[in-house]
Symmetry: D2
Subunit: 283 residues, 4 copies
Amino acid sequence: MKANSIIALLYGPDQPGLVSRVSSWIFLCGSNIVHADQHEDPEAGIFFQRIEWIPSGQIDEEAASFEKFASKELGMTAKVAQSTDRPKVALFVSKIDHCFHDTILRFRSGEMSGELACIISNHEALAEEAARYNLPFFHVPVTKTNKAEAEAEQLRIVHEQDISLIVMARYMQVLSNDFLNGAGCPVINIHHSFLPAFAGGKPYHQAHNRGVKLIGATAHYATADLDEGPIIHQDVTRINHRNSVPDLVRKGKDLEKSVFAQAIRLHLDNRILVYNNKTVVFD
Amino acid sequence: MKANSIIALLYGPDQPGLVSRVSSWIFLCGSNIVHADQHEDPEAGIFFQRIEWIPSGQIDEEAASFEKFASKELGMTAKVAQSTDRPKVALFVSKIDHCFHDTILRFRSGEMSGELACIISNHEALAEEAARYNLPFFHVPVTKTNKAEAEAEQLRIVHEQDISLIVMARYMQVLSNDFLNGAGCPVINIHHSFLPAFAGGKPYHQAHNRGVKLIGATAHYATADLDEGPIIHQDVTRINHRNSVPDLVRKGKDLEKSVFAQAIRLHLDNRILVYNNKTVVFD
Amino acid sequence: MKANSIIALLYGPDQPGLVSRVSSWIFLCGSNIVHADQHEDPEAGIFFQRIEWIPSGQIDEEAASFEKFASKELGMTAKVAQSTDRPKVALFVSKIDHCFHDTILRFRSGEMSGELACIISNHEALAEEAARYNLPFFHVPVTKTNKAEAEAEQLRIVHEQDISLIVMARYMQVLSNDFLNGAGCPVINIHHSFLPAFAGGKPYHQAHNRGVKLIGATAHYATADLDEGPIIHQDVTRINHRNSVPDLVRKGKDLEKSVFAQAIRLHLDNRILVYNNKTVVFD
Amino acid sequence: MKANSIIALLYGPDQPGLVSRVSSWIFLCGSNIVHADQHEDPEAGIFFQRIEWIPSGQIDEEAASFEKFASKELGMTAKVAQSTDRPKVALFVSKIDHCFHDTILRFRSGEMSGELACIISNHEALAEEAARYNLPFFHVPVTKTNKAEAEAEQLRIVHEQDISLIVMARYMQVLSNDFLNGAGCPVINIHHSFLPAFAGGKPYHQAHNRGVKLIGATAHYATADLDEGPIIHQDVTRINHRNSVPDLVRKGKDLEKSVFAQAIRLHLDNRILVYNNKTVVFD
């Protein structure tokens, strides 16, 4: 039986003694560090740390106390979580279902440190499948003229469901800047190319036309600039001249599922810090 | 002892019976096919074939006879080679030496079906190293004002040395369209990114700035459009947030060497056909 | 709309003119080859071919006629299939469900050229899940004393359901030689290691103990010698000293799913020939 | 200009406060941590740490002082090095030359934090090549009857040359336990298979016979049990039914070079700790 732990993600201006001050604070609590990783970006002068420990005292108090210490005394931005947290996740989807099934099955298997709370879709295609999984399904149609209203409705659901993470499993709509700001939580997207190659629409067609010998998939945080957000994870697979666009689609599906899942897992395990449109991934 | 073989690379408009007619021609000669691979591009309506056989008769005659058959009777473009051919290769280099050493050592080890005939460089930095390998070294300085004369001199050497393939081992100059047309032979370049991502200069800096999680290398035939030629081979390796630009350079070197070498080997083994700015690689 | 095609898998003693005779037979029918690949094993003196063509005449007749030609006139062993064939597949499973879900979803998505006919399990754990997918589920308990009867019952189901391929999705029982002989169809197993490393039980524990830096998965045809059958496909993923056995299990699941699926797909696409306990895979 | 740093590799029984005590010691010196990574093996109860810092005071004194602190006050085994250290390396080789050239060129390019001091070989085949690189070459013939004397002579050279690391670049002799004990420094070997698969002789032949779909290479510390030492690094590459043993040899060369080089670099960068016949690699 694994003991419950506190996980802190810290970042801020680099300064002498940060590692020492953080670890000493925990040691003086009588608590036991089980994982610690840090990174300094010498150009940006920023310090990053992920530290996980088994608290000696009452876990909520020690977590709150650390957060205060980190922000007040160290001047760091701190996100403090507990290993038992199960943040709620909303899955956005259209009609394509491979990432949909894969993500749901991984949550069900216990692979993800979170709870898949609901499905939101602009189509009804996957409503029945969602029902089979006993997952709430919200159909929010999006047309050329109702985008603002649709996003308002999506935001309403996101807030009502108390969502902490949105994941876009091949959701075929661009989310507006207003939506991203209004959501108040990170959004992870899976793009079916090795970004920055083949941004935009129909990346497998683009790859086929260019004659590349590898295709890729990229999971990134969504930002207002489509396909330009901080990259979390990427992978590629080999193709050859025999492969048609449908072959690329088939091969790419496995990449998309695996890359998307790893990004979600890393996020829910509190392993990612974002700065300068890049990610630090404490894997 | 492996018998000498004839290798034909054919392509042209698809038509019924091509496989049958080619293989029957060889069978009727009493010769023995040892490798055959073909590809049809249904969109373009083009047929491609690589076929290798042990001739029953005099090898030069059978090769010449097949070439005539393929072009006259089948209406195909045919390149016919022999397994004992050792086409001459010129290696273009500047100051960076990892692909230089790697390529030379592979030719010396017998891994390549060709002869490394000479080194051509815009710098003298590697002249001594070339001498250690007993390789002719031609220093052709390139300045902002003498590019046309320099290329004329390079072409003179290429023709004098009877070169059949030029390979650019991190040669830091763009070859003009005039040079490429004048050379009368293919030119293989190694670019230190996963094209089409990070074309142009300083790709490792570009990759670092974008925060990608994989870096790549691409070997392609050089065309007038820089970094836009037909891709022969690509590979990638994983990086993380700890890796600085010098780390990417170090990791990238191994990729560049391996991708470049495989492209040269595939070309010299007569395994590549080019069409529509893509390659068919019969590997 | 893709035209229906005939696919032939041939093998037998190498002899001059095989490629020519096969392709000419098809050409003389007025039919059109769409894919052809061959391989000679010079040590064993065996010729292998996969050839696919669009018949000009009635497809059943042309297929039967070719089979006769191949066996009678060429003396080759021939398996002749049609692109519209949907052979029935039985999935054997115990309690572990990742390959179970993955395989079912791939059949449902149309990725596989076959029909998933039923689930056979020694446990009831996945009965409900099978029902959700509307798949017949046969519970055949296996104990220390009833193995022969259990296998007899499994064979009865396999024959009753007209099964052409059995796939073992982490089925935790060894199938006896009698079962394999009685089934009358190939059996594909997924083993969670890079064979021949870590054959037998608990391969992730073995890998963790040995301190390897990569873990693997292997799909192979089952034979009486456990984990010794002809290998179809393998893949690996990187691990490090931080990874515990449960981490290996999690990482390995993705490998197992992907390797298993590719082996099943290659088999159902008639791309595999077996000889000397090895496979020729015409990919 | 990068400042010189101190690197400490620590391990010993896990105890509360280790991270804090180590980082506080450095902080109280007024020094600045630039890298820190740690690992706990919960089963073995062992704590491992790599920590690198820019000393505020005189570097030799601070290094010595830390070593005393770690062993005396923390009860840890500590190896303390400096980033400017250039330990001497001896390269053992027979006739096969790809790892020989590759390793030498990497040392010459500055990729390795060490000095390649000499070549020791049981054959004269590479004497001239070593001379071209201006490297001392010691020919120590090994026969069936003189093994003990030959090893004594090798040890004499190793000690005379003040060697801190021996690397076996496809040296085709097994080193005895006496040699390994007498050398007083680690020995890194490259084995041309994915261990534990295909240990022993002719691994590419073994791989070909078994019909695997990937071949590998493994760098490990040499121990008295051949091919059983702690694994440092491994990699694999894909093969298919067309590949003969010479193809595996050619493909394997690139693997061997790259895996061997990475193991040597990791060792010289003080990134490896060994315990329980495994390695912790702080990469």
